[in-house]
């Protein structure tokens, strides 16, 4: 997915993009570490959201909706 900049720009990339790349990369991790870090992280982050969280949020949402309807009703009365 991550197209390497070097591949995209080729070895003869002009000076401006070279400079830009330097400043970008100074914030990036060496990819030997960075790639493994992302693999480690995505191993969990790529899993589908467990049902327990979906139903939890559904419950919270419903409880909130009921609370709201109640207080709206009280205001009218």
């Amino acid at each position: 997915m991550d197209t390497r900049k070097a591949e995209k720009d080729g070895p003869g990339a002009n000076e401006a993009s070279e400079k830009k790349r330097d400043s970008e990369m100074s914030f990036a991790l060496p990819s030997a570490i960075g790639d493994r870090l992302k693999a480690y992280y995505n191993d969990v982050a790529s899993e589908p959201v467990p049902d327990r969280f979906l139903s939890l949020l559904e419950q919270l949402d419903q409880a909130e909706g009921e609370k709201k309807r109640k207080s709206d009703k009280e205001e009218v009365e």
Binding site: A6, R21, D22, M25, S26, F27, L29, P30, S31, A32, I33, G34, R36, L37, K38, A39, Y40, Y41, N42, D43, V44, A45, S46, E47, V49, P50, R52, F53, L54, L56, L57, E58, L60, D61, Q62, E64, G65
Partner: protein, 183 residues
Amino acid sequence: MTTETDFRRELIQVIPNLRAFAASLAGSFDRADDLVQETLVKAWDKQHTFQPGTNLKAWLFTILRNEFYTQMRKKGREVQDVDGVHAMQLAGHPEQQGHLDLQDFRKALDMLPDDQREALILIGASGFSYEEAADICHCAVGTIKSRVSRARTRIGQILEIEGDGEYGPDSIASQIIGVAPAA
């Protein structure tokens, strides 16, 4: 009434990231998901304090991290990793069986002090800026930078020491040389 609120939909989108961050903090998947659950409930209760248009992901990470350290303080050292228990528990995750490369990396990551590991994850994997990471960790931007830098150096050393060449200085050095020939 089954309409999903925007807030709920946005929360759901961040859950995968929250789980990954929680796992890196907590060291076991059960504990990580408990942490995520606490975070979602807390976030729901105080959603009125969230300013729409600001970074929901960073807001949720901050809640999760605070929750984690609050629990750590309450439970004392129990939550802390003892002799690689952290790594063993994570390695037990079924999705990760057979990923030797990943397990080695996980062990290396595990040898880092908590603050360095956290900074490395936030910057290198969660995709936060140094400024956002500093906000999440309640520290200065410079502190995050130096933690990431120390973590990176340390991981490089660990993998090199334990390395089978694959992680060794060559692959890392070639990246650096390839990127910054003038330096």
